[in-house]
Each structure stands twice: as C-alpha cells, then as structure tokens.
Assembly symmetry: C2
Homo-oligomer: 490 residues x 2
C-alpha cells in the first residue's frame, strides 16, 4: 500500500490545500519522507456532505452487511502487513512488540463489534403488545429500537496509534451503530492514519458501502477540528486525548444552534489505594509490579496510576517503590510536545513546596512524590495529570482522612484498591465513596490494561470524560451513537 499524503474523502483523495507537514520519527525527531497536505474547510465540508448523503443508505444497510464491512476492515488492516507496524513504531516510538500487540487488540475490537451487531438483540428492542380490549382506551402496540444518530466526527489519540485511532474503538463503534465517520487524523502519526484510512476506504468499497461512509482529513492545528464539530451536518463527536482538547470540543458542541453529544475521554490520575495487610503479603512483588505499571508505555496511558493513597503507617512502601522507579529507564515519548509537557509536570512537582520527591533523580525520570491530604487539597495543581511515568502519593493520617480526601477527588477513569480480605472488612464506606468517583474500580490489579469486553467501562465522571453515562471501550460503546425510537401501531 502506498501513502497518499491526502485527505480520503469517501472513495476519493483530495489535496487542494497549501499547508503541508510531515510525520516525525519519535526516537530521532527527524521528519518522515511523506508530505501531508492539510485539509481545507471545503474538503471537511465535502466529507460531511458525503457522510450525510451516505447516512441515508448506510443507516438501512442490514446488520449482517455492516458486520461484513467491519470484518473487511480488519482484513484490510492485516493486508497492510509489516509496513503498518514499522510506520506506527517510527511515529510513536513504541516498541514493535507493543505495536504488534496493539494491532491484535485493534483487530479483536473490530471483530467484537462485528459479532455484537450480528446478534439482533443489540438494538435493545422492547415490545409492548397491543391490548385492543383495554378500557377506557385500547392500548396500541409499541416497539422501541435503537437507531443511529448520524455523521460522527472522531478524533484519535496519540498514545494508541492503532487501537484508539483511525480504526479504533470510537470509529468502529460509530460505524457498527450505523453512523458514517469523518476521522480527524492525529498529526503525531499521519502516516499510520493514512495507511489505516485507506484500509477502511478499501473495505467500504469492496463490501459495497456508500461513498462517504468513511472519510479522513489531516490537519496540524485545531481549526479544521473545530470546523467539523460545529458543522450542522455533524450529529456526534468522539475524542480521546487531553482535558484541554476534549473540553474545547465539548464547549463548541454545546454552544451550537443544535447542540450535539460529545464523548471526550480526557484522562485521569487513577488513584491506587494501598492497605497494610496487602502490602505485608505482597512485599517487594507489589513494588515491582507497581513500578512496571507506572512505566508501561512510558506512562502514556489514560489509566496510568498517577496517584497513590496510603496510610501514614504504611509509608515505608513508598521508599521501596521509589527505589524500584530509580532503576526504570524513562524511554521514548510519543512526541516532543508530550516530552516537554512531562518535563514541565516533573519540574512543577519537583519545585513545589507541598511535595517531597522520593525518587533520586532531580531531572525528569520515572518519579514518585509524596504530599499530605491537607497540602493536596490546598494545592490541587499537585494532583493534575502528568502524562508519563510520574506518581504522587497522598499520605493519610487515618481511614477517615482517606475517605474525606476521596470525597474531594475529581472524576476518574479508574480507582484501584490493593487490599486483603482482612483489610477489606473496614473498607465498605471507602469503597462506596470511591465508586462514586470512577467508571471502573479494581481490586488487587493495576488500571493499565483495559479489557475489551462487554462489561468494561472506560469512562467516568467529569473531568475524566465529558459524559459519565458512557464507555469508550467495550461493546456498550456503540450506544453512544444511537438513540431510541418508538414505533406505535406499525
């Protein structure tokens, strides 16, 4: 497969614009050869106009035909072969094993959605049978079904160039629901986007989907993204990335003449609560596993454990954890911007009067800081997400203080309880409070590693996401892009 460097507008390629850019090799900072042309507003408009026209057909494509289209996407991605792995590795700096694994996850996710819509129960049909003899008035037959919302604009994440990008969970759940997708390619991996975009384009053509079911546009700045979100033909938006980016799109969408839903997954610091008996039984092993979870993917996960909540009497564990982190390499960041932002976050914590550094390095490295509940609440900036391998431990005097601190926590994607049954007997109130703050709560695991399955919730209260009533991972993600319609007496 050749790179195009252009917008994929339905079954065509377009490049009328005059602004160019190139992908960057994460490790070297050097530009990759392919030149990409940024989309014009006219091209974005054309993508949405085609999507809107395609929707009239695509919404009536049978579930079986749509499933075939999804399966074809998976096949076309595999057909790209090694060049996809090499390209994604080059642009993200992530190792080959990780990207190969992520491709597997992406394929599995596509198949999961294809299988999900192959069972008609996915439409959540509810039938109330007629009661023609009812007094004083007969009851009509009512059938409720989910229908797709319409053209959806998707913004991918930099940290999963395959699984949360062009053919990631957001695109696939929208396509599975029956919504055409206009994808805003991530400027951190335009080459990867180009390859996967063409795979979807080809799958759509081969399985007879209407022209405009999928489009992909490139841009470095925010202008085209804003244009797509405020365009009257757009009916929903999905985003994975920073708080700043997601909140900006949310604000645009709710201020439209006709507001539309925005599903923005904006990350979180994912508190891990540690308890005495668990620490005692797990010993060094826990510090080892914890340090690996912190450093996995250079800490560039939405579910990275950036916050430890621990009792004063257990603070010795922090020393062991810091010692482990002192031996972990930093690794290559996805982009120069993320590296810079990590360094800024590290420096802020390192010089903050409210925090104490427990790891050795005084320059940016995998790091552990500690603070007290009082200081953390007085200086909320120390609990701001530092995207990368950096964790802050909040040391609590007692369980009551731990609960009070939890009540003040903003919304999170996940929280983890590390506890033995002997710890758990005292933790009912804490766990109840924690569950109010998160989309997923784990016992004795680590939040990194998100299962793609029916019961998964990758979501959570604001600011973790813009809509806590949804998940962006797992088959339930499809219902972000549907709404119920009731058919009376049909």
């Amino acid at each position: 497969m050749n790179l195009t460097g252009k917008q994929l507008i339905g079954f065509q390629t377009k490049a009328a614009g005059h602004r160019n850019f190139q992908g960057i090799q994460a490790a070297s900072g050097e530009a990759l050869p392919q030149v990409f042309v940024e989309a014009t507003a006219d091209e974005a408009h054309e993508a949405l106009t085609k999507a809107s026209a395609a929707f009239k057909v695509y919404r009536n494509v049978s579930d079986g035909e749509r499933a075939k289209f999804l399966h074809a996407i998976a096949e076309e991605i595999l057909v790209i072969g090694d060049v996809l792995i090499q390209t994604a590795c080059a642009e993200s700096g992530l190792p080959e094993a990780r990207i190969t694994g992520e491709r597997g996850r992406t394929i599995g996710q596509i198949q999961a959605f294809a299988n999900f819509i192959s069972n008609p129960s996915w439409k959540r049909e509810i039938v109330d049978e007629a009661m023609p003899e009812r007094q004083p008035l007969p009851k009509p037959r009512l059938v409720q079904k989910q229908i797709p919302l319409g053209p959806t604009v998707v913004f991918g994440a930099s940290n999963f160039p395959l699984a949360f990008s062009v053919a990631g969970g957001d695109t696939l759940s929208a396509l599975a629901a029956g919504c055409p997708v206009v994808f805003k390619a991530h400027p951190a991996h335009p080459n990867t986007c180009d390859l996967v975009g063409q795979a979807i384009q080809q799958a759509a053509q081969k399985t007879g989907m209407p022209d405009g079911t999928f489009s992909l546009v490139h841009a470095q700045g925010h202008e085209i993204g804003g244009y797509l979100v405020t365009h009257p033909l757009t009916k929903a938006v999905a985003f994975t990335g920073s708080y700043r980016g997601g909140k900006a799109l949310f604000d645009l969408a709710v201020r439209r003449e006709v507001p539309i839903p925005v599903y923005a997954e904006m990350g979180s610091i994912n508190p891990v609560y540690l308890f005495s008996d668990r620490l005692a039984t797990q010993g060094e092993g826990l510090a080892d596993a914890f340090s690996q979870s912190i450093c996995l993917g250079v800490g560039q996960f939405c579910t990275n454990p950036g916050l430890i909540v621990i009792l004063e009497k257990d603070r010795e564990f922090l020393t062991s954890l810091a010692a482990k982190l002192d031996h972990m390499p930093l690794g290559t960041f996805l982009t120069a911007g993320i590296k810079q932002s990590f360094e800024h976050g590290f420096n802020t914590l390192n010089h903050h009067p409210a925090t104490q550094r427990l790891t050795a390095s005084s320059t940016p490295a995998p790091s552990l800081f500690s603070t007290s509940v009082r200081e953390a609440l007085a200086h909320p900036e120390v609990l701001e997400e530092v995207f990368g391998p950096c964790t802050v431990a909040v040391v609590c005097q007692d369980l009551a203080e731990m609960i009070a601190f939890t009540e003040q926590l903003p919304g999170q994607l996940t929280a983890t309880i590390q506890a033995e049954p002997s710890d758990l007997v005292n933790l009912a109130e804490l766990i109840d409070e924690v569950s109010q703050k998160v989309g997923r709560i784990l016992l004795n695991g680590f939040p990194t590693g998100v299962e793609v399955s029916a019961a998964m919730v990758h979501g959570g209260p604001f600011p973790a996401t813009s809509d806590a009533r949804s998940t962006s991972v797992g088959t339930e993600a499809i219902y972000r892009f549907t709404r119920p319609v009731c058919w009376q007496n049909f």
Copy 2:
C-alpha cells in the same frame, strides 16, 4: 392535609424569605387563599446539602426498600383525597374527569417504577467471567452495573399538574434510580405542589428514607431555578416545559465548571402526514377525531398535533377539518400567560402573509391555517409551536416535496402517518426520513395520549428535547439518572 405555604426541606418546612405569592384559579383569575413564601438561596442550598448527605445513604438503600418508598408515595397521594383533585382543577382549569384520570396515571406510573426496580435486571448487570488461564495475560472478572448519578433537580410542567409535576415521571424515575430530588414547584400550581410534596415527605418518613431524599422549593422567577442548576452538589436536571425555559437551563448546566446532564423536554409541533386512501376510507370520522385531538386539554400538550403535512390533491380534507374546528369551544387555559401566548401565536399566523386561515374565527379560537412548503421553509416562524389548539397545514405538490420538507424539519417528539396499506407501498423513503426526526412514530393514531410503558419514547432530537438518547415517559426514563460502573476482580 393542611397546606404549608413553605419550602419542604427534607422532613422540615422553612420559610425565611420575604417574597410571597398565591396560586391563581385558572377559570376566574382570582387568587387562592394560601400564601406561599418564595425560597431563599440559603434554603435551596440547604435542600441540596441535605440531598447530598442523604445520597450517601439513599444510594445504598436496597431496591426493595426503595420500591416500598415509591408505593408509599402512591398511597399518600391517594390519602389526600378529593382536596387534591379540587385543588389541581382550580389551579389548572382542567376538568375533574381529566384530573382524576391524571391522578390514576400518576399512581400507575409510580407503581410501574416500583415494580421495575423490584426486578434486579433493571441494573443492566453485565458479567464477563474471569479466564485465569488466558495467554499472554489472565482475564479478570468484570461486572458492570448502573449506579445513580446523585442529587437531581426537577422542574415540573404546568400542563400536567400531577403526572409531570411533583410526583411525576421525572421525580419518580430519579427516586427509583436512587437519586435524591430537589423539586422546583411550578408557580402555576403551588397548592397542588404543596399537597403532593407533603405526600412524598410523609412517605419518606414512614418508610425510613434519609432526611433530604426529597425537598420542594417555591419561586415565581427564574433565579432559584438557576441557582439549583448551577449548584456544585447538583448532578442532573430534568425539565418539562417551553423551549426557552429548557434551553436556558441547558445553557447554564453545560457552562458549569463541572457540566451535568440536563433532560429538557421542550415540546414540538408533532407533524401528522395524511394520505389519500386513508382519507377516503375514514371520511368525516378522521376530521372529527383530528379536531378532538387538536382541542384535547385546550391543545396544551407537548404532543398536540400542530402540523399537518398533506398533498395538494387531498387538501379538501382541510376544509372538513376546519369546519369541525369551527364548532369546538376554546376552553380555559392553564394560566393567563399561556392564554396570552396562544393569542399572540394565533395573531401572528392570522396576519402572516405566508399563511391562509381556513377556520372562520378571526379572533383566537381553535384554528387551522395552511401554507405551502416553499413559504414554510422561507418563513420558519410559521412552524413555531403555538401552545394551544392551533394547527398549520403544509400543502405539498407531491411526495418528493413532502420528503424534502421532512428533511428540513427540526426534531419532534412524535410524527404520525395516517395511511392505508395501499398508501404505504409508496412511503418507505418518507417514513425512513420521518423516523430520523422523532422519538415516536405512529401509524393511524393521534400523538396525544402517551402510554406509560416500557417501549414508550417520549423524547426526540433537539429542539424537542435536549438529549435525544433518552425518554421522559416509561420505565426506560430511569437510565437518565444512572451511569455504568465496572467492578474488576471484586
């Protein structure tokens, strides 16, 4: 039961404010004796503080205990007896038979929610079993369940003083979900609100619910409502009423530091599509039934059929319908404000160059106007909702024009197709287009009369509601106030 004229803050009554008002008899315009004290911001704050404290307990009350509480609300409402009927009739101007029927509907609705949460499947539990042997990593056990969002602010509607007010579908679905409710009483029926509010207060006390599970505050202006919606402890909002009111609350809620969901049902004009063979088989009977649907409850329904879409060749029907409407009395409006607004709407249509009046009366009365597709699209103000018995017919040259017109329609709660099988053979494309615009689509019925049942959708795309992915009638309404949480390895 005595009237209090005060705020019901949890189990207490409060009246620290200095601004008073009285309920008004709809028929005479005279004030009812009870003086109501408007809530202060401090009282609204206290209601939400109590609701937030109550939530910690109420969210853990078992489904069975919560169902008992709901049943007790129904009982306490019945205990009020005739005085409730008389009060609601006096304040709304609606006839006794209608209010008695509405009480029955309210009781039925409460029982439906109580029964719904008595079946544990309501929590939509999804279980993914563990796969400890899976390679390369074991799969943890995942359980997804719905949990309540938290304190919910509810605004009732003037046109259903029982079924969409204090103990209406919004309050009951929130309480059923496990969310405490702070209800903003409607100033058009404060006496009715006071009685029903006390019934809920007593039911909560008798069944051992925590203090603060329910509160009710009075106010005539918008200030207290805005205060409640922007208060940090509020987690969700439900509203039934005008576009202006609902959109104002939506705008406040999405601009909060932590945005919250607003479920505003803002009404619509509910198009009815009429076809030749149906008109031929039904004859006069259809004109009769249609005129009654237009005039039911003085046309003061969100589902009132305010728009007819008809082919030029069938326009004779409009003459028959106008003749029927000429014999219908106008009736008593709910409030002086609604009467005034109906008169304004009538006069606007009556003097508009784009419309032609088909009914006889040149002063406000049950009315039918006609216009063309071209005129309707050029002058969207002629399709604005006139709350009351007033309908505009858009006459289409052919089916293609009808479809094109439908594509331009804003979101609606309902649309109705009046068609025989011989008509329907040509209508697949139209019906597909219509279904994109509505929450409910009916065949050969009238949109007034909304079943309270599992399959009902009383919702629809903006501006009919602020969130098309929900319904405010029927048991599915409960999911407006819940979100999923995933329990991993618990």
